[in-house]
Symmetry: C2
């Protein structure tokens, strides 16, 4: 999961737990697949398997939405697709803007999963004047100067940030000032936003690091970890030189502070 929510402590919207909301898209995907195969109904067991979750959890999730099932039979696929879509707000059109048309931004612009879910790429924005007018995924890139106008003219409320880390906060501030209230952030930075603005982040690097952690653990299981100092080893002021990976280090020379340039895109 390359995700991470931000803020929004416990405002359980109208009783639907955040964890449940996060799974609804999963159910929707599985249901859509069934719908395409013209399957009329599914049991919680079948659907749960298709969505990769526990059936009890699925039933409990659906119970928050209402009683849409039929005991002894299961759930009507089409009806459920509609209900979940409505709950998620996918029955309406959501114009989005993508800021930062680099490798990642371009990949996002070409992403086919947008339109099929009610999301419409209203505009592509980049700070590089050379990019202006150049079409990406059939949409001409516009310069950052137009940002505010684009957002207000199109009534955009969701913005995607795919810029380098250094520019993210600045872009974010402008988006928010222009009226954006939901942001999907691909830049490896913590964005600070005023209350009322939602931010979700996707960071591939983080996901890989989590995998590495487990991978290391698996590998170390056979060798039996050396347990290191049992007693609390007081932190010696002597900063142990950070062991640089045997790889071609010297990465931080690429650019700004963090040198991170996000590049992600779910298929």
């Amino acid at each position: 999961m390359a995700t991470g929510r931000t803020h929004r402590p416990a405002t359980r919207s109208r009783g639907i737990p955040e964890a449940t909301v996060a799974r609804l898209p999963l159910y929707l995907r599985a249901l859509t697949a069934l719908s395409e195969r013209s399957v009329p109904t599914v049991s919680s067991e079948e659907l749960a398997t298709a969505a990769g979750v526990n059936s009890a959890k699925l039933r409990k999730d659906f119970s928050y939405l209402g009683s849409y099932g039929t005991r002894g039979v299961g759930y009507d696929v089409e009806y459920l697709v509609y209900q979940i879509s409505r709950e998620l707000g996918l029955t309406q059109d959501w114009p989005v803007v993508i800021v930062g048309i680099g490798n990642l931004g371009a990949a996002l612009a070409n992403y086919g999963g947008f339109a099929s879910r009610g999301f419409r790429v209203a505009a592509l924005i980049d700070a590089d004047p050379a990019m202006a007018g150049k079409p990406v995924a059939g949409i001409p890139v516009q310069h950052t100067d137009e940002l505010e106008k684009i957002i207000t003219d199109n009534g955009v409320s969701i913005g995607v940030i795919a810029t380098p880390a250094g520019a993210a906060q600045q872009v974010c501030d402008r988006l928010v000032a222009a009226g954006i209230t939901s942001i999907l952030n691909f830049a490896p930075t913590v964005l600070s936003v005023p209350d009322g603005v939602d931010v979700r982040k996707v960071d591939l690097s983080i996901e890989l690091q989590i995998l590495a952690f487990h991978e290391q653990r698996k590998a170390g299981e056979e060798v039996a970890a050396p347990e290191e100092g049992a007693g609390a080893v007081s932190p010696p002021p002597v900063s142990p030189h950070r062991a640089p990976p045997g790889a071609p280090g010297a990465d931080s020379g690429r650019q700004g502070p963090d040198g991170d340039v996000p590049a992600v895109m779910p298929a």
Copy 2:
């Protein structure tokens, strides 16, 4: 976070909670930034703010790693960077292979955040013969036929799947059979893997849908929904009882019955 973990119920690796592991990369990023600015020490309060978390949570997280701070002073930045890197397994080289070099795969191959964290792209693999030999991000693409050989020859244990949804499971099976034990999946499909294999998934579409949910709720707050609670009155926008599809009518039209099309990667 466009993230979502999979499996691994409660195997808290050596006592470090999964939630804590997921935050370590966040701390590491903030610490690295401080390190580059030559800041010698930070308090839990400062670091927490930089990482976007609560200070109490941060201290508790660090407590699982050991006592690396100094009361009254804070944490030694360099030392902590090293400890966390080591804990995450980033002090060693992790060769990874990327399968599926479409828009997404190419973006990933160009991602600068890999090398800087100890990850090295060992190979790019695609099923399209026309792609073979073509360099992407300086690395020549190899055909799927070579998959097994590439993995065993390079001792790769982490694989990234960026193929269309339809090919994901098949690719996954081959990766696992070849010895891969950690997979980062960008395809919108639930992968089934044997025990011992970790899968993490990133799905942009899901993140956007979650944002849409909250966005819709924000918009609806002004209209103030009429409580509707008590009697569990199933909201029948279409039909009270198990009404068949019927949905499209009220729907924003546009998309056909299918609507979804499992995010078929443009490739």
